[in-house]
């Protein structure tokens, strides 16, 4: 079959990303030709500022070197200006750097021409020494001017203007920033933050002239620009004028070719222009009325566009809600949403001029609608998520402004600002990854997302408590290119574009009963998924369709197949269940016998009030289980995404302070929930009085007995980042504890994403949602409780099951070693 011809006009970040995505999914579909007007391969435009500031070189910011184009068989014309798109003959006509005309035919055309700087029409704009700030050439010109001249004027105090000013100041020039509004970066910052930033920049030696209207640029004797004259008659000296007054989508070529443009090339959700053979991505495209300038939305566009170029036809770009997280001259600023102070909006402000911190969050109708952060932006991602999800924040309003920094206190020695960390400071305590390693990986491999960093460095890929730090490092290393991902809507894994929510919904709607059925129905890209999606799919099927879905052992992590917990040396740990933490001399004898018989090297008491036998060989497991089954003991599920333990204190049975029979209730709860699979592990505790010896405050469901009944707490977690459980409801008796607690757990089982603990689930959906389903609506509560009991009925102990299976079924044979 003849290969299709794809021509790309423009060689920037959005366009080349589209090609990268395309090579991933359809490597041999197209012969690709790329025209780039600049003489450089694709580079990270956002990092021009560090180049100007002398912190990086051009070489550092190249994303795809010439070898990459060659390796991927892409014909690259550098320094070639495309002069015409001939849609009738489907060809692109260009003039190369030697003035030769090149004509290339296309089957599909991708326009990624980016944007051009806006040059206001004041007299003198064409003088030597007047430049814009867009590409490597401009940057070189500024570096050159800084070495030879003294006075620089930057017109426009947006991000680009300030970065240019900062760079020029660092290179020794006397810089004045001229701006036509009352404060700088007025589109990204409110007045207070803008003024704070200005004061900080003034401390670094920059001058500002605000509310200034430029009248003309005046030439000196040499013919080069010498001064900027304002409408109020004022004038300041200028040997270099950098105009940073905004950008415009570069659509000249498209317009000339008769492609419909309106402040950008108008594209649909598949990034197709009005000519179906012509696609457009990046700053030159106008999608649903918006031309995006931040790199994250452009990369999303690239992914969708590549998918359609590959004729896969799935995936739509539906626009992006953007936030701005920037580092301006070393100062972190963040903003998102609407902070103009519209009708009915309320402000919560935390302002500490001494520390240089300003946080303003804007609320409307109990929802977060805007945020401006200055100096301390580590909570930006969290605010952004709240804003995008339109979550009801009335419950957390009292501490909302203090943030939720996704930073634990573990392993970072109290460090929570990445910028101040030394290169050899450890960021990820689980995998021993230092800041320098992360920065190096980001630069060397051109990483832009948290996922990429996790893959390459393993940082933040285990417990995740350093995620906030890694995000900060990413933001400061790639500049504005980094945008926190939308964690609720990201794809389950590389096998699909669907999110956890979408997959759950589909399994429910279409009654998908097995992993394979779900994969087929949902168009999985891989033959049988991967180790990330298979366990999730298996859980979603089982929890949506109890007693009907087919459990796939091979889609479970080894622990849930072996009913024991794999250890670093490949041996297993076995934990027999002790209901409510209670045991008997007979059970203890059985445990002691098994420990001796199978020469268990370590016997340890767990935090969940059980006894753990560590170092058991896999081939010994079936026999050991059989021994326990004979002694009447069952699996403790200390290994599964399931009910783990119900921890209890002694309670009123023995304790002189106890108000309720906590042991008895704990045993009841544990018997009710025995064998329950869940999105993640679930731990409970019952304390007999508010002294809370069973630590109910850090459990998924914590029960505290009081004289008049029980208090229920939910969403606690004693792990990575200690989360104190939130008060849920006060109930009268044991039955109500089971019903209310059970209904909450069932709701979590139905709505939680796989590997999402109750605290994260609660944070995502909000306490109000749980209250509505479990407290306010008695019918809904009872239905949930009944569904839970239905799902759990007839559960067979896995140890007894395997022990009783004398057929030699393959799941038992799996434990036998074949000797040769």
């Amino acid at each position: 079959m003849r290969k299709l011809k794809l021509v790309m006009v423009g060689n920037g970040m959005a366009g080349v990303r589209t090609l990268e995505e395309l090579r991933k999914i359809a490597p041999d579909m197209y012969d690709i030709t790329v025209f780039g007007a600049e003489p450089h391969p694709n580079y990270n435009r956002i990092l021009l500022s560090p180049v100007l500031a002398g912190e990086m070189t051009i070489q550092d910011i190249i994303l795809n070197d010439l070898q990459w184009y060659a390796d991927n068989g892409i014909t690259l014309h550098l320094g070639a200006r495309v002069t015409e798109i001939d849609r009738r003959n489907r060809s692109v006509i260009a003039t190369d750097r030697n003035g030769q005309t090149i004509t290339v035919d296309y089957d599909r055309l991708l326009i990624a021409t980016g944007s051009t700087p806006f040059m206001p029409p004041f007299p003198g704009r064409d003088l030597p020494g007047v430049i814009s700030y867009r590409d490597i050439k401009d940057t070189d010109e500024m570096i050159d001017a800084a070495a030879r001249y003294r006075h620089a004027v930057v017109i426009g105090a947006g991000l680009l203007g300030l970065e240019a000013a900062n760079g020029l100041a660092l290179r020794g020039m006397a810089v004045t920033v001229v701006h036509n509004s009352e404060w700088i970066m007025e589109r990204q910052l409110d007045r207070t933050a803008g003024k704070m930033l200005q004061a900080e920049l003034e401390k670094k030696g920059m001058q500002f002239k605000m509310n200034a209207q430029t009248a003309e640029l005046v030439a000196g004797e040499s013919g080069r620009v010498a001064a900027v004259k304002f409408k109020d008659g004022d004038s300041i000296p200028a040997d270099l004028v950098c105009v940073a007054a905004g950008i415009r989508p570069n659509v000249e070529l498209a317009e000339k070719a008769g492609i419909h443009c309106n402040r950008g090339i108008v594209v649909n959700d598949t990034l197709q222009s009005y000519d179906p053979r012509v696609y457009a991505v990046g700053e030159c495209a106008n999608h649903r009325g918006t031309a995006y300038g931040l790199v994250a939305p452009l990369f999303e566009q690239a992914k969708v566009c590549a998918n359609h170029l590959a004729e896969m036809g799935i995936g739509r770009y539906q626009g992006s809600v953007t936030s701005t997280k920037l580092k301006v001259a070393g100062i972190d600023v963040f903003s998102a949403g609407d902070f103009s102070g519209a009708d009915g909006a309320e402000d919560i402000v935390l302002h500490d001029p001494g520390l240089g911190i300003y946080k303003r969050i804007v609320l409307k109708d109990d929802k977060l609608v805007g945020a401006v952060l200055y100096g301390d932006t580590k909570d930006g991602a969290w605010y952004f998520q709240l804003l995008r999800d339109e979550q009801d924040i009335s419950d957390i309003r009292d501490h909302l402004v203090f943030g939720n920094a996704h930073l634990g206190d573990v392993g970072h020695k109290g460090n929570n600002v990445a910028a101040g960390m030394a290169d050899d400071a450890e960021v990820c305590g689980c995998n021993g990854v230092c800041k320098g390693t992360i920065v190096k990986a980001i630069q060397e491999h051109g990483l832009f997302s948290l996922e990429d960093v996790r893959k390459h460095t393993k940082a933040s890929s285990s417990c995740g408590s350093c995620t906030g730090l890694v995000e900060q490092i990413l933001a400061s290393t790639v500049g504005g290119a980094y945008q926190p991902s939308d964690s609720n809507n990201k794809a389950v894994c590389g096998c699909t574009d669907l999110s956890h929510g979408e997959v759950r919904h589909a399994i429910n709607q279409h009654k998908l009963l097995s992993v394979a059925e779900a994969q087929q129905h949902l168009g999985w890209r891989t033959p049988n998924g991967c180790a990330t999606c298979r366990p999730a799919l298996n859980y979603y099927c089982l929890s949506s369709w109890p007693h009907e879905a087919i459990d796939d052992p091979q889609s479970r992590f080894i622990n849930e197949r072996a009913h024991a917990n794999i250890q670093k040396d490949g041996t297993y740990s076995v934990v027999p269940r002790m209901w409510g933490g209670l045991t008997t001399p007979t059970e203890l004898r059985a445990i002691a016998d098994a420990a001796e018989k199978y020469r268990v090297p370590t016997v340890k008491v767990t935090g969940g009030q059980r006894i753990d036998l560590l170092g058991v060989k896999k081939e010994d497991l079936p026999q050991m289980w059989a021994d326990f089954a004979r002694a009447g003991m069952v699996s403790g599920h200390a290994y599964g995404k399931s009910l783990r333990t119900v921890k209890t204190c002694v309670g009123s049975e023995h304790c002189r302070f106890g108000t309720q029979r906590s042991m008895a209730l704990g045993v009841k709860l544990e018997k009710m929930l025995y064998g329950m699979w869940s999105p993640h592990k679930v731990k409970l505790a019952v304390s007999g009085c508010p002294r809370n010896c069973a630590e109910s405050g850090i459990k998924d469901v914590g029960v505290i007995g009081v004289d008049s009944g029980y208090e229920l707490y939910i969403g606690g977690n004693g792990g990575i980042k200690t989360e104190v459980a939130q008060f849920f409801v006060k109930v009268q008796d044991d039955d109500e504890v089971m019903e209310y607690g059970g209904a909450f757990i069932q709701l979590y089982r139905e709505e939680g994403f796989y590997l999402e603990r109750t605290c994260h689930y609660l944070e995502r959906v909000g306490m109000e949602h749980i209250r509505q389903r479990v407290l306010d609506d008695a019918a809904s509560r009872k239905a949930l409780y009944e569904k839970l009991l239905f799902a759990l009925q007839d559960y067979k102990d896995p140890w007894a099951e395997i022990f009783a299976d004398k057929s030699g079924g393959s799941h038992k044979r799996e434990f036998e070693i074949i000797k040769v």
């Binding site: 049988n528 298979r534 490949g570 000797k819």
Partner: protein, 103 residues
């Protein structure tokens, strides 16, 4: 290299699963079977931290190590990028429903 040795029947290896073979000379070898009934044999030791690959989740022609989720290609034992390393592969084939391994 010695001759081909019969290990077990193909049906003794679970689909998308593995069995462990212990050889006096080579130590533990993981024998995998994928959804297309292809079989593969690798040294049962992840190049990362010696995790037992036989206990991992098999998908496509890859196994994910149960300890730290490194991905290892079943055909040649090469670790999937960005990680690097190799688990020793062994020649293996299916004949008349039997799995034969060359040691």
């Amino acid at each position: 290299m010695t001759d081909w040795t019969r290990i077990c029947a193909l049906t003794d290896v679970p689909v998308l699963g593995a069995r462990v073979v212990e050889s006096a000379r080579e130590g533990r070898i993981a024998v995998f079977r994928n959804s297309a009934d292809q079989v593969f044999a690798l040294r049962d030791r992840c190049p990362h931290k010696a995790g037992p690959l036989s206990q991992g989740i098999v998908h496509g022609t890859t196994v994910t190590c149960p300890l730290h989720s490194w991905k290892i290609q079943l055909e040649d034992g090469q670790v999937v990028a960005p990680d690097v390393g190799c688990a020793k592969p062994y020649p293996i084939r299916v004949e008349d429903g039997d799995v034969l391994l060359q040691l």
